[in-house]
């Protein structure tokens, strides 16, 4: 008979939140978001190929309040997945596995991605907004 008194692995809400957990979860979440975002890229290319009316309609959609919120979200997802992806590639090469380095690089991905997204949108606003 199976031993019923065995300890169970604690589930996610039991753990104290650590930045490494957050970066790991966010890497997957942003990856899924970016896969959906590729459909927007294809939509843009199709409208550019289809003609001026279709392209203007596309610009109106991405320039709408909802479009802008999605664009800000997708641009952050891109920068985060990029930064954390580089971090994972370096770890795949065997670097940065000591716990302090692991924690530091986690924070680095989060912070650099935020800096990049703020820089890009500051640049966009400085040029007078989207579209």
């Amino acid at each position: 008979m199976a031993q019923t008194q065995r300890p169970l692995s604690p589930h996610i809400q039991i753990y104290k939140w650590q930045v490494q957990m957050v970066t790991s979860i966010l890497h997957r979440a942003t990856g899924i978001a970016l896969a959906v975002g590729m459909l927007l890229v294809v939509w843009g290319l199709l409208s550019l190929a289809a003609g001026e009316a279709a392209f203007n309609q596309f610009k109106v959609c991405i320039g709408s309040p909802l479009g802008l919120v999605l664009l800000v979200g997708w641009s952050w997802a891109l920068f985060y997945h990029l930064c954390n992806g580089i971090r994972h590639l370096l770890q795949d090469a065997g670097a940065g596995y000591a716990i302090p380095q692991f924690v530091r690089s986690s924070w680095l991905s989060v912070i650099v991605s935020l800096v990049l997204v703020v820089a890009v949108w500051a640049c966009v606003l400085n040029c007078g907004g989207v579209a």
Binding site: M38, G85, V120
Partner: protein
């Protein structure tokens, strides 16, 4: 000959390099190679979109029609969808535990990705070739 005399595995097993899952490291390695390519392609894409912020239709179309831009854009679309399929496959395999749902999702993701990639590439070709 096996490197270790105590290794009970047949040398052919090692030579094939397919491991216990019988699929080898192909998925893992392709995910890393497309990731490395997307560092450059993704940054190029962001800079290209930013450079076309207030471009009118004719300017945007002319930019995409330039041979190098069209080529790199096709590379970006194809590589991004490829990387997305590999990543989403892992997510589905991890979280969808009903076999038929898992298979349906995996196939649907592949179909959508091929459709998206081909539509994107065809759009770029239409713009580049002026048809």
């Amino acid at each position: 000959m096996s490197a270790n005399a105590n290794d009970l595995r047949h040398p052919l097993k090692r030579a094939r390099g397919l491991g216990s899952a019988q699929s080898g490291v192909g998925h893992w390695w392709t995910q890393r190679v497309t990731a490395a390519a997307l560092i450059a392609l993704g940054l190029w894409f962001v800079f290209t979109v930013l450079s076309l912020l207030h471009a009118d239709y004719a300017t945007a179309r002319a930019a995409v029609a330039k041979p190098w831009n069209a080529l790199v854009l096709i590379l970006f679309v194809a590589t991004a969808f490829w990387h997305a399929v590999l990543g989403l496959q892992v997510v589905v395999e991890d979280y969808v535990h009903t076999r038929w749902k898992e298979v349906v999702l995996l196939v649907a993701i592949k179909f959508l990705a091929v459709l998206g990639a081909l539509a994107g590439v065809l759009a770029v070709l239409r713009i580049a070739l002026g048809v």
